[in-house]
Assembly symmetry: C2
Homo-oligomer: 472 residues x 2
C-alpha cells in the first residue's frame, strides 16, 4: 500500500474520520485559522466550477437572470417577516462597526437573501408586464454554526439562490417544481446520486415558506444529506413587504413567490456516496479531469505515445499527464486519491507490446487495451462508469430503506439499522416530535398521499407515506 | 425626444448627474436600503459576467487556478503585516457577534485577502517543487467607504484577486508585469479603453507592496480611474508570515510574491469613457447583446424576416428582439439607452423594399442595407465599431494630456484644463505632497525614467516623467 492510502482511515471503522481524510488527501479543502471557515483548494473549487457551469446554463435556458444583492442586511430589514427572522436570527454574524465608528444600525451578513430580494422587488414590480421576475444569485452566505465539517456544515457557504415572482399561484407552484426537477436531474445524471424527492413537513419547512420541497440523498453510512431545496412562498413575504402589481384590468394584486438553492454541500454528498478507502471517486460527468495519463518513465517515446492518444480524444474529455519525478506507485495512488475516473498507465514494455493498461477508478478494475483503441475505449468507458456508479449507489440506498407500519419495529430499526425508514404518518407535528424524541430520527420528505393505513405513532388514520432518517 | 432620453442629464452640464442617470436608466444598478451597497441588476451583471469569462480564461491559460478563501479575517491575522494593516484597518467592517454570542476575537470582512493567502501559503509551501503557486479568487470584498457611487466606490466590491508565490525575484517580477499586460490588453482590446500603464510612486503604492503597477484610464471629464493594479511584494509578507521553502540544495529560502486585482469599477470606466446623452454605449466585445432587432410592428412577416437574418448570424453574435407592445420610438430609445452596438429596424415598408435600416449606437449613424446583406453587414460592422470607439477615446485622451516643465504653467493647467499633466519629477514624496496640497492633483503613474530635465516642483534634477491628475 502506498503512503497516500495509509493516511486514509478505514471507511467502515470510522466514517467521520474517513470523510475528513478523503477531503484532505484529495486536496479539496484546507483548514484555515479562521474558525469554522474552510479554504476550498484548486481541485475542490474546480468541482464547484463544474457544478456552477452546468446549473448556470440550465437556469439561463429557463429564462433566469443573474443579479448581485448586497451582502449585508440591516437588522430592521431582517425583522420584517416574522417566521423568517425567528428561523435565522440566532445564527447570523453581526457587523457593528465600520472602521472605528459604531454603526447606527447593526447589520448581519446575509444568511439567505429573501428580504433583500423582496426589498428590491417592491421597487421594480409595478405592473403585470414586469412579471414573472426570474432571478438567481451566486454568492456566499454566512450561518454561525457551532460545529462545522468541510462542505457539510460551515460558517460560510458558497451557493446559488433563485428568487422568482409570478402573477399567479399556478405559475409560482410550477416554478417551484420545475427548479426542483432541475436539481433532481442534475444530481441523478451528473452527480450520480439516487436522490429522493418530496415535500418537507410543516415542522421541517423553510422559515417563511408555505411549502418546501427537498432533494434528499442517502450517504454510504445511511445518514441523509439535504442536498437542495425549492420553496413555494405563496404571498407571505410579498404581503409583509407590500409588493403589489397592477393586473391587466388595472387592479392591484399581490404576486406569488418562490426561492430555491443548492450549495457546495453537494460536493460532500458526492464524496460520502461514491468514495472509498483509496480516496475520492468522482462521477465522470462532474470530474474536472476525466483521464490521467501516467508515464511509467518520462521518456520522449512515452510522451509521444500519450500525445498521440490525447490528440484523438474528443473535446470535453479533459485529461492531464503526471510527468512528475515521483515513483509509479505514488502516481497511481495520487490518481486514485483524487478520484480521476480513468487512469492510463504507459510504460516502455507496453509501448513494445502496443498496449496500455486502463484502470477504472470506481471499480479499480484494470483492462489492457491496444494503443490504437485507447482513445475510443476512454470515450466508451466514461458513460459506463457514470451509469455504474449511479446503479451501485441506488442499490445500496434501496437496501437501506426499511418499510414498516409498526412502531416497535420502527424503533428497533432506528436503533440497529442505518438508513431510512418508510412509514405511514397521520401528518401531525406531535407524531414527528415523538419520533424525534424517542428515536432521534427526523422526517426527510413525504413520499406520497395514501389512504387505508394507520399512523404507527398515534393510531389515527395515516395520510402520507413518509421517510425518516438521521441527517447531516 | 423620447421619454427615456429626457431622463438623462446633459453630460457637459453635470457629469456626475449624467453618470448616475445612465447607470439607472440602462438598468445596470438599483439602489438598495443597505447604505453604501448597490444592487447589480441583470443587465449590469451580464456585463460583469462577460468580463469574468474573458479574464478567467486568460488567467487559466497562464496556469492560474481558482480557490476560495474565508470571507473573515481575525483581527490578530490582519495585524501581522504592519504597513498592510495601517492601510486597511480604518475602512473595514467588524463582525463582533455570532447570533447572541460576542466573539472571543472580532473579525473583519476581508478588504483584500493577502493575509489569508499568506496564512494558507505558510501551510502548503514546503519545497521548491510546490512553487510557483498561481492562485486567483473571484469574490466580494468590503471597504467601509463614507461616500459611494455605483461601480466606482462602493462598500462592497466584486473583484478578482490573484495571489502568487515564486522561487525567485525574477519570476515574481515577470508575473507582476505579465498580469499587468493581461489587464492592459483586456482594457484596450475588449473594453476599448486607451489606458496608461505604469508604476505607482512610493506614496501611492499598495499598503505592503514593494512596487505597484497600475492601469489608469481617463474618463470623458478628464478625471482618472484606476482600473486595475498588479503588485510586486518581494519577500515582505512572506517574512512577516514565516513562509519558507527548501530549495534544490536543501537550503531554506523565502519565496517572492505578487498580487493583482481588478473590479466591477471597470464597468464605471466603460460608461464614463464611451457613453453619451442617449445613455450607455458599449463596445461590441463586451456587450452582452450585440444586436437588437426592432420590429416596427409585431407581424408574422416581420418576425419571419428577423428569424431569417438571425439564422445567418455566426455564433457569438448575441442578439435579442424587442417584440414588446411599446411604440417604435420607445423601442429605439431603449436600445440606445442600453448601449446595444447595432440596432436593426424592420417595418412593413422595409420588407416591401427588401431593405433594413441599421443604426450604429456609437455614432447613431443610420445606414440602409439590403435584407440579404444584413447578417454580413452586422458581422463586418461590429469590429469597425469596436475600433472606432477605441480611436475616439484615444483621441480625446491625447487631447487632454498636457506636458509642461514649468510649475506656474502646471498650476494654470491644473486649475483650468481637465485631464492629465505630464511633468518631469525628482522622485521625492515631498514634491508629490506639494503638488497635491497646491493643485489637488495626485500622481497617476510613472511614464519613464529620464535624464537631463529639472523637477519643476523643487528645482532638483528630474528622474522621471510622471502623469498627474484628479481621480475617482
Amino acid at each position: 500500500m502506498s503512503k497516500l492510502v495509509t493516511k486514509i482511515t478505514d471507511r467502515d471503522t470510522d466514517f467521520a474520520a474517513w470523510y475528513t481524510d478523503v477531503v484532505r488527501e484529495a486536496d479539496l479543502v484546507a483548514y484555515s485559522n479562521v474558525k469554522g471557515s474552510m479554504i476550498i483548494r484548486p481541485y475542490g473549487y474546480a468541482i464547484w466550477e463544474s457544478m456552477q457551469n452546468y446549473l448556470d446554463k440550465e437556469f439561463k435556458k429557463l429564462g433566469h437572470q443573474n443579479v448581485q444583492m448586497p451582502m449585508f442586511i440591516p437588522e430592521s430589514l431582517l425583522n420584517i417577516e416574522k417566521e423568517h427572522v425567528k428561523g435565522f436570527a440566532p445564527e447570523v454574524a453581526w457587523v457593528t462597526h465600520g472602521g472605528d465608528t459604531p454603526l447606527e444600525e447593526r447589520m448581519c451578513v446575509r444568511p439567505t437573501s429573501e428580504v433583500l430580494f423582496c426589498d428590491h422587488f417592491k421597487n421594480i414590480i409595478k405592473s403585470y408586464r414586469d412579471l414573472p421576475i426570474l432571478y438567481n444569485q451566486w454568492c456566499t452566505i454566512v450561518r454561525w454554526e457551532k460545529t462545522t465539517r468541510p462542505f457539510l456544515r460551515s460558517r460560510e457557504i458558497l451557493w446559488q439562490e433563485g428568487h422568482t415572482m409570478h402573477k399567479t399561484e399556478v405559475e409560482a407552484r410550477e416554478e417551484t417544481l420545475r427548479m426542483l426537477k432541475v436539481y433532481e436531474d442534475f444530481q441523478r445524471n451528473i452527480l450520480a446520486l439516487p436522490v429522493l424527492v418530496g415535500r418537507k413537513t410543516e415542522k421541517e419547512k423553510f422559515a417563511g415558506a408555505e411549502e418546501t420541497y427537498t432533494i434528499e440523498a442517502m450517504m454510504y453510512d445511511g445518514v441523509a444529506l439535504q442536498n437542495g431545496t425549492s420553496h413555494y412562498f405563496g404571498q407571505g413575504f410579498a404581503k409583509s413587504f407590500g409588493i403589489t402589481f397592477l393586473d391587466e384590468e388595472n387592479k392591484l394584486q399581490t404576486p406569488y413567490q418562490t426561492s430555491w438553492g443548492c450549495t457546495t454541500r453537494m460536493i460532500g454528498g458526492v464524496i460520502m456516496t461514491h468514495s472509498d478507502n483509496h480516496g475520492l471517486v468522482l462521477p465522470p460527468n462532474i470530474a474536472p479531469i476525466k483521464v490521467r495519463f501516467v508515464p511509467i518513465k518520462n521518456t520522449e517515446e512515452i510522451m509521444e505515445c500519450i500525445k498521440n492518444i490525447t490528440s484523438k480524444l474528443p473535446e470535453g474529455i479533459t485529461y492531464d499527464i503526471d510527468d512528475s519525478d515521483k515513483s509509479p506507485g505514488f502516481k497511481f495512488a495520487d490518481a486514485e486519491v483524487k478520484g480521476i475516473p480513468i487512469r492510463v498507465e504507459i510504460g516502455l514494455r507496453d509501448l513494445e507490446e502496443k498496449v496500455a493498461p486502463l484502470v477504472r477508478r470506481d471499480t479499480l478494475e484494470k483492462m489492457t487495451v491496444s494503443l490504437d483503441d485507447v482513445a475510443k475505449e476512454i470515450e466508451n468507458l466514461l458513460p459506463v462508469i457514470q451509469a455504474s456508479m449511479y446503479d451501485k449507489a441506488l442499490e445500496r440506498r434501496d437496501s437501506m430503506i426499511y418499510e414498516t407500519e409498526d412502531y416497535q419495529e420502527f424503533k428497533t430499526l432506528a436503533s440497529t439499522k442505518p438508513g431510512f425508514i418508510l412509514s405511514p404518518w397521520c401528518g401531525s407535528t406531535e407524531c414527528e416530535d415523538k419520533v424525534k424524541d424517542e428515536t432521534s430520527l427526523k422526517s426527510r420528505c413525504i413520499k406520497e398521499e395514501i389512504e387505508g393505513k394507520t399512523c404507527p405513532f398515534c393510531g389515527k388514520p395515516a395520510k402520507y407515506m413518509i421517510y425518516f432518517g438521521r441527517q447531516y
